[in-house]
């Protein structure tokens, strides 16, 4: 809010200032109220924590914030990837994809968030793995980016919502599951 004076109601937050979402969490609070004074008058804002946005979730706020931070990094990395032409800068493209895979691995470690979240991250991980040494097409990068953006918007998405996004990955010719799965479940 440029040009405004912001003060925080510390009685509600027990926090002297806000530097990041995670700091709010460390103080053990869920919501923060902010008073903004400007030439247009005084306005009060309330920043909701994940536990208020998702009141029925069992997910620990810290895990959710960690996921949101990782998803933000993943979006940035994929947006960078989108701007690189692998035919002229393969190393730049592959480096960005390597970072993306590392972030996805960390995201999968947060799979306790829910099966919707976990299944979409899992599908993207396998999509990238199954491309092996092939480069993702522009369309494929775009579909993965949209899926990650959607996950950032709805980290507690339902499994069915995730399935719809996974279907879109498949429509972009990505193989979203481990190929060895067929052999394992062939029980008869």
């Amino acid at each position: 809010m440029p040009g405004t004076v912001v003060s925080i109601d510390t009685a509600e937050t027990n926090s002297s200032h806000i530097t990041s979402n995670s700091q709010i969490l460390k103080e053990g609070t869920a919501s923060v109220s902010i008073t903004s004074k400007s030439s247009e008058g005084t306005q009060k804002y309330v920043i909701l924590g994940p536990s208020e946005l998702y009141p029925f979730s069992d997910v620990n706020d810290a895990i959710l914030f960690q996921a949101l931070e990782l998803l933000t990094s993943c979006v940035s990395t994929l947006e960078l990837t989108q701007r690189i032409d692998p035919t002229s800068d393969y190393i730049g493209f592959d480096d960005a994809m390597t970072q993306c895979r590392a972030i996805l691995r960390d995201l999968f470690a947060l799979r306790s968030i829910g099966d919707g979240f976990a299944s979409l991250v899992n599908a993207i991980i396998w999509s990238l793995k199954n491309k092996d040494t092939d480069v993702l097409s522009r369309k494929q990068v775009s579909v993965v980016l949209e899926a990650i953006k959607e996950l950032k918007r709805k980290p507690l998405m339902h499994f069915d919502t995730a399935t719809g996004l996974i279907d879109q990955l498949e429509e972009a010719d990505l193989t979203v599951e481990p190929c060895m799965l067929d052999g394992m479940i062939n029980l008869a």
Binding site: F108, A109, D115, A123, T163, E170, E177, D182, M184, A188
Partner: protein, 269 residues
Amino acid sequence: MEKGAFVDTTMLVESLLKTAERRKKAKKAIQSYKKSLLPHYAIKEFKGGALRHYIWFHNKLSETGSFSRTIHAIQRNFMKPYLMGTALEALQAGTELFVGAELSHAQTKAQTDSAMADSLRLSTRRLIESGWRNRRKITTDMADPLSCFAETAPTYNEHTRLLEDNRRDCDLEPRCCLADDLRAVPDQLQALISAIEGLTSPENNRRRAALHLLKNTPRRDFNNGNCKALGDAYFALRCPSDCNILTINVKDHRPLAEALHKQVDEYKP
């Protein structure tokens, strides 16, 4: 006239539950026919067979939280010694995909095992739920509805983290809805009995008993178990004259179909 496809259960499984490339290929094969029919009986077999295996696999991964313990359960109970190669391949992929280099060796092993279990569980759950949702979309039409079969969907229990699908039998009506129609063609039943004469696999023994029951004891109850035992014989009996049976399993279908002057189209995955 170009013949249509009467899609059997192996094709349904291939189109719905296998990994992406195989599913696409199987669907394309079905779509190459101008007319394709999926009998309701194939969904009943699908639900009681392959889908049940997938649900078991999902639930075992969920229960153990361990990839290696699930593999041991499969090896022990389903006699699949070759699975170790596939399992090692999966573990190798899991180590690469899910576990960071910063972990100690002991932690890495445990983490990989748990991560692989979850990864496979999630992929399997998605195949099950998508497969079920798309079951009626792979052919141009459905055929031969079973009024006694409920066709209930598997459901995911958020508390137990298990998939539940206990209603697999025909239970909507006290009597088998197919039995009267099938009993009306005793010559065809006899032709099928003759076609499997001398074949002594458990599957053929059960099929023979079911065919005899239909042909020789018209007043006796034809139950869900008998209906299941018909298996491939159902497809030979009910395939319309303007269709061929489309299947992966030609070996079992062909003698039955030919006994009734019908044809089988083979699909190779």
